[in-house]
Amino acid sequence: MTSILWPAKEQLKLIGKRIDRVDGPAKSSGAAKYSLDINRPGLLYGKILGASIAAGTLKSLDTKAAEALAGVRAVHVMTEPGRPINWAGQEIVALAADTEEIATEALRLIKAEYERSPPQMDDADPQKVEGKPRTRTEGNPAEGFAQAAASVSGRYGVATITHCCLEPHGQVSEFRDGELHVWPSTQAVSGYANQLVKPAGLESNKIHIDCQYMGGGFGSKFGPDAWGAVCVELAKKAGKAVKLLLDRDLELMIAGNRPSAFADIKVGADKEGRVTAWESKVWGSSGVGNYGAPPLPYVFAFPNQNTESQGIRTNRGAVKAWRAPGHPQGCAITMAALEDLAAKLGMDPLEFFLKNLQFAPEALRETYREELMVAADLIDYKSKAHPRGDKTKGPIKRGLGISLHTWGGAGHASACDVTINPDGSVVASMGTQDLGVGTRTCLGIVVAETLGLPLEAVQVNIGKNAYPTSGGSGGSTTIGGISSSSRRAAVAALDELLKRVATELNISPDELEAADSKIRAKANPQKSMAWKDACKLLGQMAITQQGRHQGGARTELTSSGVGGVQIADVSVDVETGLVKMNEMVAVQDCGLIIDLKLAESQVLGALIMGVTYALFEEAIYDPQTGRMLNADMEFYRLATLSDVGKLRVHMMTGKGYDERGVIGLGEPPVISPGAAISNAVANAIGVRVSSIPLTPDRVIEALEKGGVRT
């Protein structure tokens, strides 16, 4: 029997190396087909009319003129007259037409009358909280503050942002021979069909899902949602395939957002810099739903805590999980308050964080210590660091900011089939999805490594619910799940093959191994059989074995719990409030890395997303009409490449890291940028900008109250 455990580092040929993603050429040449690229015979184009008010009632609805327009093939009411409207953009009517232009024109012919109520849009005013606060006390905060040599009190905030997936939400739906075929953009291929049973009017086994490529989900694309369901309804009514992907405005208004968070923090430390007490009151909004408060204090379990959280209901579109739910907010608030405290103590933040690692989870203390040292070294901390407030003459002030983060990342349940064909070709099949992070490539690497084959020898089949069930890609659970199940499947299939080869070579199967496209005796590598010859022994029948990963925080192949450190280097123009990124360093652990290049790319992508929400991104809602004022890519700003500065990634690998097994990476590196950049700005200009994004208006508002002069 081949050991299920990951081979020793020196034996690895593919795992942990820098390997290009296998679908890179298809993506860069345009050969890769995303949902928007799927065209079917007689395809219709679906569109949705969103409510023009944010609060009130739909009084009446008249779709006659739209239905009468030539080329309109199906109309489906999504909100019946008399029903409440809870946010602007709420789906009222969907329709499908021969062209996008006709569909748009038809939407304008729909007469929707509303009874308008004043919307509640303010999520920053603590007076607006509702319901009973959640409170927690540990130790004795009053005593803790009494012991403190210094303490700071401040208000910190993180604005609401959306997911702004560059590929909008939606799908193509087609009924064919009594079955439904769907090409969605989804993070959960195996779970998708089960959510379409009702609109399809079919059992799940008649619904076929196909998602080969994804243009971003970030937590907002687990199910078909109302627009996916209505796309199926329209296809059913029209008897033709329908493509319905949200237009950019609706995408930003209704397809998910990240809850805001505002907090009043008081934190104190003794003269050594050790935190002695923490008090936090946090509030914010998850729209009309219950507020999901961020974890506070983040990373550190300080002694003597008082925490309180409470939500504000607002008329905004539904929140959805946003890459590391709650963590970026908790991190930005906690790390900013701590850096403020370090500044008050006149202490270097690096030293301050090191000193307080005793309050970090025990399993991560050493990791953080090493990572802080690596990050400081990479950014040349010693020569660049200065006390709060850059004393350099002139308007440009430079600063450094540190942040720490953590995440779980245990693998989800996953099943994988590996087939070895008599001609030596190999197929790995799994109902998983590649969100763009390289899941397809990693799956191939694990199977190829296990079978001793080059990566090209493995055909990877993913993106369809016909394949064995694998979990949705959320919570950084994919890489653990898929690498474990595929390792197990490949080992099981290999063991079958080894049995045949053992008989042929007159040796015990346990004495054989697969390496260098051969099956060979472990003790005597000369005694071998080429992979292709070995497979010929199968005759006409292929071997298929299934491997399963059941989940769990720690398994033979996977574990969970990672730490990461980031340091930002910024320049701030105090006469314009503009923040410019000089450099950002990310040091991250995620256990055993399957593909180092893809892991680094994952972190780079997270840094770009992080710089974006730290400096630019903000969903802006009109206080009077409740409409999202920047539901476009003009004022809903995303960083362009020239805005992100130099990005450097260092993955912690080797002893102490690799033996932990595979752990997820999607979430952790996006947690710290807001905090690190906010701390760098405070270090540069000598005053805290209380909320992110750190836009010129906020920076100037902070400078009006204090900080450095030119």
């Binding site: 206080p623 004022l629 476009d632 805005d643």
Partner: protein, 327 residues
């Protein structure tokens, strides 16, 4: 977008003949970078779109001894790459560079830049040019972080989106307008823009059936510069801009300071410019001019930060112009 009739005449007279007498009936298509999105979003729904792309003599740049003549349909990129414009009018070049989008610079035209509609998000959301609901402006109580800090006593609170307006005004440019029966008139760039009093009016003096045809910039040898504050390095709208032009000859009286993205029109501050006349610009003078430039600023509830930005832009534009003259 709604269906409309599309006309692409090859001569100006026909084009003007195809334009309606009232706004809203017809729209002029130049580069299309603004109009096409407005059509798609239903901000405008004309019955006919008249393209000027087929009219050859509306394009081109001629640098004469007294003035540079620019056809209104000249692509921004041609103006950007024109060596004599770059040499004599760096304020123009900088304004185009500030657009930050190679696509808009390639497709957009000089006339289109001057005639583009405001980016006010209430206007773009369909609340009309003045951003009103039930006859009341949404802007004073709304999110006005990008709105006017000058000329904002209402009913218009938006800011002019033109990149070229401020430097053209600062340089004393003249615009040529042609109307029905070939009737041509000239207006100073400073007189071209106006603040609408109602949502049916437009942001300039063009009648619905008039076409902006030509821009003439006098060659006065003025030092000139534009400084723009914008958030992103890439495509982004400015938060504020300042264009300055001045001569150091005593009593020349040609100094001007014109601000962009701060008022419903490019905002001329002659009282600030007067301080520059005949003086040698230095940091101290620039700071005084900057202070004078914001003297009449009246920020709305969320845009006080723009005052500091204006001061910075004016100061930096003056210093850039001063440096360039000496260099």
């Amino acid at each position: 977008m709604n269906s409309f009739e599309y006309a692409s005449p090859t001569d100006l007279e026909t084009a003007i003949g195809l334009l309606g007498a009232r706004f809203g009936e017809t729209e002029i298509l130049a580069g299309g970078t603004d109009l096409v999105t407005s059509l798609k979003q239903g901000i405008v729904s004309p019955k006919r779109v008249v393209s000027l792309k087929g009219i050859e003599n509306l394009k081109g740049i001629e640098a004469g001894a007294d003035a540079v003549q620019i056809g209104a349909m000249t692509p921004l990129v041609d103006l950007l790459e024109n060596a004599s414009v770059r040499k004599s009018f760096p304020s123009i070049t900088a304004a185009i560079e500030g657009i930050g989008s190679p696509q808009i610079i390639a497709m957009g035209t000089v006339g289109g830049d001057l005639c583009q509609r405001p980016r006010c998000w209430y206007y773009r959301q369909g609340f009309g040019l003045l951003g009103q609901l039930d006859g009341e402006s949404l802007i004073p109580q709304g999110d006005n972080r990008y709105h006017a800090i000058f000329g904002n006593s209402g009913p218009a609170y938006f800011v002019s989106a033109s990149s070229l307006g401020p430097p053209l005004i600062a340089l004393g440019a003249t615009l040529e307008i042609t109307g029905a029966k070939g009737k041509t008139r000239k207006v100073a760039a400073a007189e071209f823009f106006r603040t609408p009093k109602s949502a049916d009016e437009r942001e300039n003096v063009l009648a619905a059936n008039e076409v902006l045809t030509r821009i003439s910039i006098p060659a006065r040898g003025l030092a000139n510069a534009t400084y723009e504050v914008r958030q992103r390095e890439g495509l982004d709208w400015p938060l504020v801009t300042a264009s300055v032009a001045f001569s150091r000859k005593a009593g020349a009286g040609r100094a001007s300071v014109v601000l962009g993205h701060v008022a419903p029109t490019p905002w001329n501050v002659p009282e600030a410019a007067a301080l520059l006349d005949g003086k040698s610009a230095n940091e101290e003078l620039a700071a005084r001019v900057a202070e004078a430039a914001v003297h009449s600023a009246r920020p709305l509830s969320k845009n006080a930060y723009k005052v500091r930005l204006v001061k910075t832009a004016v100061k930096r534009a003056i210093l850039a112009a001063a440096e360039q003259r000496e260099g």
